[in-house]
């Protein structure tokens, strides 16, 4: 029997009078990695923001670990779900250590200083992400790849079972993107963290995800295994484009080229 940690039903929201999500429904099993993809403006980021209660959904229910999120406090939600927004436009005046320490705030009482344990958790996650040397640097002085790792270390330090990631490897060079995906893979496979990741990198999504969800004009048009998703009819329906396919040399997974061979 599967263990559902997140159940979404009938989720709809309009922004500026335009319906962005329409009756979205899906379940996420504990420890599962679901990649959410679709064209720009399909409603992917909006979905994550609704799940984190940054945007208020108009209709629908989101049940997290058996409790409707509408009935729990934002602090309690943050202890169970960590959200990493898109990297663009983000800024932090803090040092790397201070920035990652922000993740411990949902666990701290007002007036309380971070405990020894909080510091240890932060240092442990910095070490895991290979950031120990940068702990005293201000985040704004880091490269894009280093920053993304700081944001991930912060999400891990939050101690949540569910991670919501908005394009975690966009704008990163191939090495950095691989490092970021490796960190996420370790979290998912070794620590059992459930991941919902919005991405345009469908090849990586196909290789690492358990399931892929595709949104089109605010509606779920596909939810299933990566093998089923990487099929010409599905992809052309989701993205309204044609692709060329090659096979992964080790797994045989169909992968797409970003252009169509003429």
């Amino acid at each position: 029997m599967t263990d559902t940690c997140l159940a979404v039903s009938g989720l709809s929201i309009s922004l500026d009078g335009k319906a962005v999500l329409k009756n979205v429904a899906f379940n996420v099993n504990r420890g599962e990695w679901i990649s959410i993809t679709g064209r720009n403006g399909a409603g992917k980021s909006t979905l994550l923001k609704c799940l984190m209660r940054i945007l208020k959904m108009e209709t629908g229910d989101v049940v997290l670990n058996g409790n409707p999120i509408a009935l729990i406090s934002q602090r309690s939600l943050a202890r169970q779900v960590a959200y990493v927004p898109q990297a663009t436009g983000r800024f932090s005046p803090f040092t790397v250590f201070e920035h990652v320490m922000l993740a411990r705030y949902p666990h701290l009482r007002p007036f309380a200083a971070p405990s020894r344990r909080d510091r240890d958790i932060v240092m442990h996650n910095l070490a895991e992400a290979g950031l120990s040397e940068l702990a005293d640097r201000t985040v704004s002085t880091l490269s894009g790849g280093e920053r993304q790792k700081v944001y991930l270390a912060q999400a891990f330090a939050q101690g949540a079972d569910v991670l919501l990631l908005d394009e975690p490897n966009t704008f990163l060079d191939p090495k950095c993107a691989a490092e970021v995906l490796h960190l996420l893979k370790v979290a998912n496979q070794d620590r059992g963290t459930t991941i919902l990741s919005v991405t345009h990198d469908i090849n990586s999504a196909a290789v690492i995800s358990d399931r892929i969800m595709a949104l089109k004009s605010g509606e779920v048009v596909f939810m299933g295994a990566p093998f089923e998703f990487m099929a010409p009819p599905v992809l052309s329906d989701v993205f309204s484009a044609s692709f060329s396919f090659v096979s992964h040399p080790e797994t045989g997974m169909p992968l797409v080229l970003p252009w169509r061979a003429s």
Binding site: R53, A78, P106
Partner: protein, 334 residues
Amino acid sequence: MMRPFSKRKVLFLLFGLLLATMAVAPFLGLKTMSLKSVMAGDADAVEQHIFYSMRLPRVLVSLLCGGALALGGMVFQAMFRNALATPFTLGVAGGATFGASIYIKLGLAFAVLGVPGVTLAAFLGALLSIVLVYGLTRASGTLSSHTMLLAGVALSFFFSSAVFFMQYLSDFAQSFQILRWLMGGLAVQGYTTVFDMLPITVGGTLVILYLTHDLNALTTGEEEAAGRGVNVTRTRTVLFFTVSFMVAAVVSACGPIGFVGMMAPHICRLLIGADHRHLTWASLLFGGIFLTWCDVLARMLIVPAEIPVGIITALLGGPFFIWLLISKRGGYGY
């Protein structure tokens, strides 16, 4: 970039400076006094009166007001992630001045639960300003800090015009009284103002300390803060009200003293970093010490006359503002 000073050292230094300021500043002024003359049993009664009834409360008021202004600036700079966002640039001080001016012009005199009427009038003015700035920014379809700052600047102009209009309608004596008040001054008699300001600065500081975690998270953006468990709307509302009340109290006590709220937290941030658990204390201490020494300058520069302290802070603040603009430290993310 790593910070050059340890947080603890900076805080100890500021605390030492606070003690030194409290020990030295009351003795300085038109007539510089000695400890012996103040403490001696056979001392001149006039000198003792000046020390205990004027100088000492004046130093205490400037410490409390300077601290409150610095904290107001710190909170707005963090919430808007912009070093130029202060109670003055956001029109809060303008609104408070407008409210206080109406109270004075109408010749009202009342108190509610011990809070002087002029403080309440200034608070209502500050609140009006906040609601208008927020409403105007929302009406523009965005909540960007730049739009909010511009709305604040526009409202400041509007309120200062309204205050000028009231001055125009006043007789010569009233007009001079308003003008003198607008320049800001800390000349107090006795401890009434000290006891008016004490609960406001202490209460405001406690609210801000209660919310330092939330304030830190808000510094990285609203979405980030929500992701760290902050109830963004509630926190912003509580902080807006707290800062409005603090600034309104300062404006009603000693007129609109500009630039302390911009300079103090910014300098502290350069010294100690952006973590509000330490920055709150540093800004409170620095703001108080800074305003006290500006006031010492104000009463010693052109003796026997006294310069309104608002002129001194503006003379220092103007170049600082320009430095912020030129060095590009004033924009998004401080």
